[in-house]
């Protein structure tokens, strides 16, 4: 593969809640993102996927671990270097209604980052740049003087994308960029992001809960559960050969828009609900809902290991130490 843009090494982020309580939002998560790829981060609400995105951006201080962007440790840079780094890393947010200032025109929204970073010599140049960005995201120059409320959700998300592109970044974190949109519009925005990735050579971290959309857009996918990454592999392999019981359950819970397929497939229903990240289970965090939980799962945290080329999983079912404790018969294909 090509060169690494970003490495996240054993990143941990805990929030202190007072009364001596700590919310363990992210625990020792490790992954790399290669230049030009789309890395998908999926998981259900509260799994820590957005916290990872925000910590990578430097919006949160890390608790432990490292975030290395093109050789530079994001959290150990001086203020000036941080400022320069922001030019290369930009973010697209979930809610196209809340993420645009209702009092600013589209032109002001898009040109603000340009002004902060003094990108242009004069207003004329800046305006031309705004027009060009609008056209690149499928809007037109007439839209520049309008206000956000005059646009539909999909169009607003295009404005948000234009703003993220304003500084010509290399790396974009898209945090649930389509979940507030209607289905037919979601496809428009996903196709736009794919197109921009090709024309501009962008690298994406795509954070979402909708695994079918993430699979559509991502090259590789990391699956999160309660602050931990449980599995990481290419998006095709994740569907064809999921290893972690949580990944299997997640895949089987997603309804497929095809009645024949839907009625014939077997479903693993995960019992119970997500434990609290303030007081997570000992050992493997998924063990309380896992149909294959063994004794070791309660006592020891499973190692993050590469089972086959480019396929990582953290589960005792696949570690060698567990053979003493249970027969390998339990590893059946439950999909």
């Amino acid at each position: 593969m090509s060169q690494k843009v970003l490495s996240v090494e054993k990143l941990t982020k805990h929030f202190t809640l007072g009364k001596g309580r700590t919310l363990q939002a992210v625990n020792e998560v490790t992954f790399d993102i290669q230049k030009g790829e789309t890395f998908g981060l999926v998981g259900e609400s509260g799994c820590g996927k957005s916290t990872i995105g925000r910590t990578i951006m430097g919006l949160y201080e890390k608790t432990a671990g490292n975030v290395i962007y093109e050789g530079k440790n994001v959290h150990e840079l001086g203020e000036k270097d941080q400022f320069q780094l922001r030019k290369q890393m930009q973010m697209i947010f979930q809610d196209p209604y809340a993420s645009l200032n209702p009092r600013s025109t589209v032109r002001e929204v898009i040109s603000e980052p340009m002004e902060v970073h003094k990108l242009h010599k004069n207003k004329k140049e800046q305006l031309d740049d705004v027009y060009q960005l609008l056209e690149e995201v499928g809007l037109n120059r007439d839209h520049a003087n309008r206000y956000p409320h005059e646009f539909s959700g999909g169009q607003r998300q295009r404005i948000g994308i234009a703003r993220a592109l304003a500084l010509r970044p290399n790396f974009i974190i898209a945090d649930e960029p389509i979940s507030a949109l209607d289905v037919s519009v979601q496809a428009q925005v996903v196709n736009l992001l794919k197109e921009l990735q090709i024309t501009k050579g962008l690298t994406f971290l795509f954070i979402a809960h909708d695994l079918s959309m993430v699979k559509q857009i991502s090259d590789r996918i990391g699956v999160m559960y309660l602050g931990n990454m449980v599995e990481l592999t290419t998006s095709d392999r994740l569907y064809e050969n999921p290893l972690h019981p949580y990944t299997k359950a997640l895949l089987s819970a997603i309804p497929i828009p095809d009645p024949d397929v839907e009625e014939s497939r077997e479903r693993i229903i995960v019992e119970g609900e997500l434990p609290s990240p303030i007081n997570p289970p000992s050992g493997c965090v998924f063990r309380t809902r896992c149909p294959f939980a063994m004794e070791i799962c309660a006592t020891r945290k499973p190692k993050w290991q590469e089972i086959e080329d480019n396929h990582y999983v953290a589960c005792h079912l696949y570690s060698e130490e567990q053979e003493v404790n249970s027969s390998p018969k339990t590893i059946v294909n439950i999909r």
Binding site: S184, S212, K215, L250, P255, I256, E262, I269
Partner: protein, 335 residues
């Protein structure tokens, strides 16, 4: 088969400062006893307004049912007095709302909210209604019902609250249950649990369900018949298989092509270009015509009649109309 509810030529409008919104513009459909009808469409298409109209929950003013009938077991609900309506809501027709976080009263125990309907409508003694409440909680899968009756909504998770909302809706044994986006606010693994629950309660109680949703995967799993709505009109109805495999309306086809499928590898998404029309001044012709790749001149001028494709399958599209087909033939020969 017996029709539980039949909606005929329903029109609903809302007066606002900006003018009158024609939210529902002549909707016809029926629900048979014991079946699940899914009303599918994007935000703003009028699906929630339609279901609220059946319950007579349209706030008047600004809303108004201007035309049409809602026949519940042969009687026109739109003609009922408010007093009579109150004796029907929750007893004969019940509703489940999208957000389980706001559907429950935070200051009352779960038990009192469950029993309220029984006490109000059926004058059942407190001992018997408590018994009934416990039975309902068991049916919807809440462990330790006796204990949990005394608890408040904040002591339950999102999935559990939705189970309680379902229990409340079913406690008076209604014949029709309207579920408006019942799983949209839930995580997929919890959604899977709730969908299983819907199938179970329908089997146990024989209740008819109107399911309002935008999620085609959910529809493929639990619907019997589907009505596709667009810009205040139902543009196609049929059995689940009619719609998914033989869908004829270009909007239906477009919708199906714009959702990603987990089980299909690398298929590109085809979004529907454009956005739905403004319902302040809805177009005279087919509302989908401006976005339709097959639109003819007639489509912009006259709304197509309903064409019966089979006993269960009907569509409103000029492409399926004999007269439209003739037009199509003449235009293609000219080219």
């Amino acid at each position: 088969m017996e029709k539980i509810v039949e909606v005929k030529n329903l029109h609903v409008t809302f007066s606002t400062y900006g003018g009158t919104i024609q939210a529902v513009r002549g909707v016809n459909f029926y629900v048979n006893k014991g079946e699940t009808l899914a009303i599918v469409g994007e935000s703003g298409c009028g699906k929630s307004v339609t279901s609220n109209a059946i319950m007579r929950l349209i706030p008047d003013p600004p809303g108004k049912i201007t035309q049409g009938q809602v026949l519940f077991k042969g009687e026109d609900v739109t003609k009922f007095s408010e007093k009579k309506m109150r004796s029907i809501r929750g007893v004969d027709i019940s509703m489940i709302f999208q957000d389980p976080m706001t559907a429950l009263n935070p200051t009352l125990t779960i038990g009192s909210q469950l029993m309220e309907g029984l006490r109000q409508h059926q004058g059942i003694s407190s001992a018997r209604s408590k018994q009934k409440a416990i039975e309902m909680m068991e049916l919807v899968g809440i462990p330790n019902p006796e204990e949990r009756l005394k608890q408040y909504p904040h002591q339950f998770s999102g999935g559990m609250r939705q189970r309680i909302v379902i229990a409340i809706a079913l406690i008076c044994e209604p014949e029709l249950l309207i579920a408006d986006e019942p799983t949209t606010a839930l995580d997929v693994t919890i959604q899977a649990q709730i969908l299983e629950l819907f199938e179970k309660i329908q089997e146990v109680t024989g209740v008819s369900i109107i399911l309002i949703t935008h999620d085609l995967g959910v529809v493929a799993k639990i619907a019997d018949r589907i009505a596709v709505m667009y810009a205040g009109k139902i543009i196609e109805t049929g059995t689940k298989r009619d719609i998914f495999y033989k869908g004829q309306h270009p909007y239906t086809k477009g919708l199906l092509k714009s959702v990603p499928r987990l089980d299909v590898k690398g298929a590109a998404l085809t979004p529907i270009d454009g956005t739905p029309p403004d319902l302040f001044s809805p177009p005279a012709g087919c509302p989908f015509a401006p976005r339709c790749p097959y639109a003819m001149e007639v489509c912009n001028k006259i709304y197509p009649d309903t064409v019966q494709l089979s006993q269960s399958h009907e569509v409103n599209c000029w492409l399926q109309d004999e007269r439209g087909k003739r037009l199509l033939a003449t235009t293609t020969t000219k080219e």
